[in-house]
Amino acid sequence: MQAFVQQFIFGIQLGSLYALIALGYTLVYGVLRLINFAHGDVFMVGAVICYYACTRWLPFRNLDAHPEAAATNIALALLVLLIAMAVCALLGVLIERFAYRPLRNGLRVADAHFWGLVAALPLTLSLGIRSGAPSVAAWLVIGIGLGYALRPVASWLARRTVRATSRLNALITAIGVSFVLEYGGLIIFGADPNFVPNVVPEAVYTLPGGIRVGTAQCAILAISLLLMGILRWIVLYTRRGRAMRAIAHDIEAAKLMGVDTDSVISFTFALGGALAGAGGALVAALTHVKITPLFGLLPGIKAFVAAVLGGPGSVAGAALGGILMGLAEAFVAGSRFSAFRDAIAFCILIVLLLVRPTGLLGQPVTEKV
């Protein structure tokens, strides 16, 4: 019984993190019918931002040497959370603006310049590795040059009347963006694992019955629930949320009714990005795992499964799916079958999808011809 309750607590904590990431998948899927595979890597960026904020950017003080700094450190940690959320929201918007929107509306000249700069980054860095120091000036020069080289391509593509509307194109692009983030991260942050030091005081309490609960776990759970609550409020009770739901229902009709679909889609990506960034920062600062640029891969896949489990497009479903995934993982990992942990989680998914093809809370959609 004690082991059961204990694993239940771990499962809920793990699940609340999966739920945070899964919400980003489900929001984007609901609005665009797009599986944003780069989402797990936005989570990674949140963790990396947290690492830099905790070790370099903000004046955290060592708790062992200065126990009185606890209060200021906690305040700073909340600031870190906000920074990670803001950066990841911005990243989500950028990904949507420069990777997915050109597929919907055609490639513009600004897109050509953006991708020129992105492509110039590894080029400049590798030149720098050979010849000494990589410089920002060299990057800008190469990037703008590449941008100008890409402009004729962009304007040629923009003139074409037939636009790529296939979902497959967007999906492949999503995988591409994921690789850009992962391997771009390897170039910029390096591949060495990093750890966030203790920035907030942590304690573990033993409840009656020998059940141990840590303050870190409680903080993860509380912050996740709070953020999910805020998201629910935005989606259900604000004008933007209503626009999101309208687009999810029928994007063409929403356009005809005067909804600025592009800006609402950007807003959706910002929301998803902020949640993933919060998740990344929470994991990095409170569970102290190693952070590497490929660190978003596994949680990203699991959260994606959670989103499918709950029913893609359903906000409550994503939260429920995340919690279920976390619980399944904790119980299997704590049993003798820990080697099959991920396999069992996927088996649950397969069985469930056989019974309920739209996921736990997904709405059946009739395809109109």
Binding site: A3, F10, A191, P197, V283, T287, L298, S338
Partner: protein
């Protein structure tokens, strides 16, 4: 018609490229006499075990530079070509193929992680290029073929040492926590279990994790329920710190015990810093420590520190030994080609390394003693040592 002409042109170009790769002659310089001997090295300079590769590479570089400073090998200069495998087995295989086919390396040094050595060893064996691994301890590595050597002990031995040590410490009930994706970790745990049971201990629990996991608490809680005297965690430093932390979080307060995969300056940051979750824990390591007072060892430490500004770890020392052993064999072998060099390496006897005397046995493995180190503050202290004879091997 146009299409087929293009096809023909492409296949001609491919054939020409293949030929230019295949026709190269190994080891010999342009004039036929070896003015420069190319030694290949592959190492994890980046990636999950970056400190392993960096340390080893420093040791290798130091040895090669020292050899060149004292006149090279029979008049020829040594050139070290180092490739980064980013801590990935598939990349290791690719870069080693490049080293032996394109760069015409006469011998290859590497890797630390057994998974990567196992991926690259068949390539070296196929092209008859001797490969010396400084510190891959999985027994399978040198079984890949006649051309694969190692200058360290094997996991059979290391795991047996840890089993004896655990028993001597009075631990009778030990739980295992191993990385299912890691050859080294799985073999270590299996060998430990068989030896520990043979000498009278009990393995009370077994759980697995995977490199890249973020949460180990579920498995650790299960292990805690078995109330072990100690937990064996034969993993790499990048996970061990986090595991130790989370073990303390779930109330598993017994000592953790590990192997040479722990040996890294990055071990403690993951555990919450010196004096935190890993304080007082033990791990087995190669016979090298800055606390060993013998002269060759101290000389090596001095020159390493003079060049890099830090103390060498065991992996640096093994890299240094592997490269020096190779230079020694190059001096002894008459002509520099794969088979002759292989025979020269295989004939190594009582080579005075900084990690102990090295004699390669008929299975191309070195027979050496092991140390048990204890973590205290930010230092790894020599706790005791075991020779092969002491544990009846």
């Amino acid at each position: 018609m146009r299409f087929s002409a293009r096809c023909a042109a492409v296949s001609l170009a491919c054939a020409a490229m293949l030929c230019s790769v295949g026709c190269k002659d190994r080891g010999a310089g342009p004039s036929g006499t070896a003015r420069e001997i190319i030694i290949g090295e592959y190492a994890s300079l980046t990636g999950t075990t970056a400190t392993f590769g960096t340390s080893t590479h420093r040791g290798v570089q130091l040895a090669i530079d020292a050899a060149n400073a004292s006149g090279g090998v029979n008049g020829a200069r040594l050139r070290l070509l180092t490739e980064d495998d980013a801590s990935k087995p598939d990349v290791a295989r690719t870069v080693v193929t490049k080293l032996v086919t394109q760069d015409r390396a006469v011998a290859v040094l590497g890797e630390v992680a057994s998974t990567r050595s196992l991926a690259a060893a068949p390539v070296c064996n196929q092209y008859q290029v001797p490969m010396i691994t400084p510190s891959s301890t999985n027994p399978e590595v040198t079984k890949k073929g006649e051309y694969i050597f190692r200058v360290c002990f094997t996991d059979d031995f290391q795991a047996a040492v840890v089993a004896h040590f655990a028993f001597d410490q009075g631990y009778r009930r030990v739980a295992l926590f191993k990385d299912i994706k890691n050859d080294y970790s799985m073999a270590f745990a299996a060998n430990f279990a068989s030896e520990f049971k043979r000498i009278g201990g009990t393995v009370v629990g077994e759980q697995v994790f995977q490199e890249g996991d973020t949460d180990f608490k579920a498995q650790l809680t299960d292990l805690k329920a078995a109330s072990p005297d100690a937990v064996l965690v034969p993993g790499y430093y990048s996970e061990v710190g986090t595991i130790a932390r989370q073990a303390r979080d779930v109330g598993l307060a017994v000592p953790l015990v590990g192997g040479d995969g722990w040996d890294s300056p990055s071990l403690l940051p993951g555990a919450g810093g010196p004096g935190a979750a890993l304080e007082g824990c033990f791990f087995s390591n190669h016979f090298f420590s800055t606390e060993i007072s013998e002269k060759p060892t101290q000389d090596f430490i001095k020159s390493f520190k003079a060049r890099y500004g830090v103390n060498p770890d065991a992996l640096a020392a093994l890299g240094y030994d592997a490269a020096r052993l190779l230079v020694d064999a190059l001096k002894r072998c008459g002509k520099v080609d794969g088979p002759a060099l292989r025979d020269a390496i295989a004939a190594t006897k009582d080579f005075p390394g900084v990690t102990g005397k090295i004699t390669l046995d008929k299975n191309r493995n070195a027979r050496k003693a092991a140390l048990i180190l204890q973590i205290k503050g930010d230092r790894f202290h020599v706790f005791r040592s075991y020779t092969p004879e002491q544990i009846g091997q």
